[in-house]
């Protein structure tokens, strides 16, 4: 599957790269859905022998291919929320020389990066590669509720129901983009929804 080219944007918007195997004592790879392809592309037997993969399929069927790489540890989680305590536990045990690799959707990478940062790893030391859905994790600036997997602009806040437009302003701490009321100055005048990059 070809990778999506995000258009140039403002300085707070994350920029993703391409995973590469880096020298390290141990390796933690966290991915969802098509993010598995990025792991498959970088995997070698030597690397996998020291790698812990945490994977959330989100309805895709890559799990068996990842398992076949014979990583040192493999975990398949039903959702990110179900996996996060395991991610925190692994990061708690992390030692110098751990390499962190994140792949898949922006929501997954952002949240996992946040956990790694809380464990003391600088965000600049964490590799990321975007694959799959271009949906965004959005925070409503008004009610603070997070809406996952937002594909359209504008969208309706899943918590407070306001009509929000999708900004490129991004918070690593919240792992979310900002949504702001679009019809505050003209209530009810909401433009038709379109895809975020259309």
């Amino acid at each position: 599957m070809s990778k999506f080219e995000f258009p140039p944007s403002i300085r707070s918007r994350p920029v993703y790269g391409t995973l590469e195997a880096r020298p390290g004592k141990t390796h933690l790879m966290i991915a969802d859905a098509e993010g598995a392809e990025a792991i498959l592309a970088v995997a070698t037997p030597d690397l996998m022998a020291a790698t812990h993969i945490i994977y959330i399929p989100k309805g895709t069927d890559y799990a068996d291919k990842l398992r076949a790489l014979k990583p040192a540890q493999f975990y398949e989680g039903p959702t990110y929320a179900a996996s996060v305590t395991r991610i925190q536990r692994v990061l708690q045990d992390a030692q110098m020389g751990l390499q962190v690799y994140l792949a898949g959707t922006e929501g997954l990478m952002g949240q996992a990066q946040n956990e790694a940062m809380k464990a003391g790893i600088p965000h600049t030391a964490i590799q990321t590669e975007h694959r799959g859905s271009i949906a965004r994790r959005m925070q409503c600036v008004h009610c603070k509720g997070i809406t996952e997997d937002v594909e359209t602009d504008p969208f309706v806040c899943s918590h407070c129901g306001l009509n929000l437009f999708v900004r490129d302003h991004y918070s690593r701490r919240l792992a979310a983009y900002q949504g702001v009321c679009i019809d505050a100055e003209d209530p009810g005048n909401v433009p038709p929804q379109k895809g975020i990059y259309e």
Partner: protein, 355 residues
Amino acid sequence: MTIQFNDETFRDDYSFRNSERAIKRFPFPFDKDSYMYAVNMEQHRGGPSDSIYEKRFDVDEHYVSEMRDRAMVLADDPLRCQSLPHMTLAGWDLLELIMVSKSEDYPDLFQLHRDGDQWHWINKPLGIDDKFTFMDETTLPYGPMEYITRQTQGDFCVLDQRDDNLWMDAGMITTQADWSLDFDIGMNFFEWHAPVPLAHEKGIFVRALKFLLNIQQGAPARRLNWTMTVNPLLDTSPENYHKWGIQKTELTPENIGSKQHLRVELQTFFRLPRSNGLVFPIRCYLCSFQDLMTSPKWGRRLHRVIRDLPEELATYKGFIDNRPMMLDYLSKFDDGLPTSNGIWPEFDTEPPLQK
């Protein structure tokens, strides 16, 4: 001079008013007849007598009412004041800076008595008389940053300095020009300024950061920034934009003079001694168009600046839709005469309006 504190509101019935003295000392932000972003920094070492530049932390007639408004904002939304765990020391630095400055600059209003780490703080306008142990959070009703900024006009960004960058790691933000501390906390200088148009391309932020990283102890700096606000509303936060945004549509040619306000931020920058952090107070001053027009120089100049402002800036500052109505109003105060350089109103030398 003795300050008479106003009893006024910045919401609902908007009883906020500027006295003649407040209008004369208003920090009009345009030093010439046009505006573009610039790294317009200067030393913050006093200024003309009774000007807003004179003291390190200006206290004016709105003090008591502004602090009441801040308490209301915080009661509604405690997330407007946040401090990441490593920023407590910088909070004590800030508390010391403000208490020392205010007690020296306004001895009739504020007193600080120190005996080692046993401190006694008296704030007469707010009726506060507290004894506490410096650097012991358990002896104050709030964390040190929150305690002192509940008693000081202006928003406060407390910045950590590391990796050759500044990080927005703590703040008290209740009178902001439409940005969210809760969203931006933890961001670096370039990230929290990311939504600002044009200035990145002009290299403004690279140069400004270089300047700020090198601010030294005892050598604070300052600049002015500005935007427009309909009604004297301090809390123009994104959090509440869905509530106040509609007010921008309530301007009419009849009410624009009293409803439309120029909102000016006096931004100052102080190095903090123990934490090596930087505190960035953003003090908001509001003045209605009709009060500004009492200065012939400001009348002429404001019309020219607003007329010639690039569209991106008028959009970013949120008044592009109201600009035609503003220009209809302001043009009546522009007779085409030249204006003198600098921000001061020059009442004695500037000719009266010739039309």
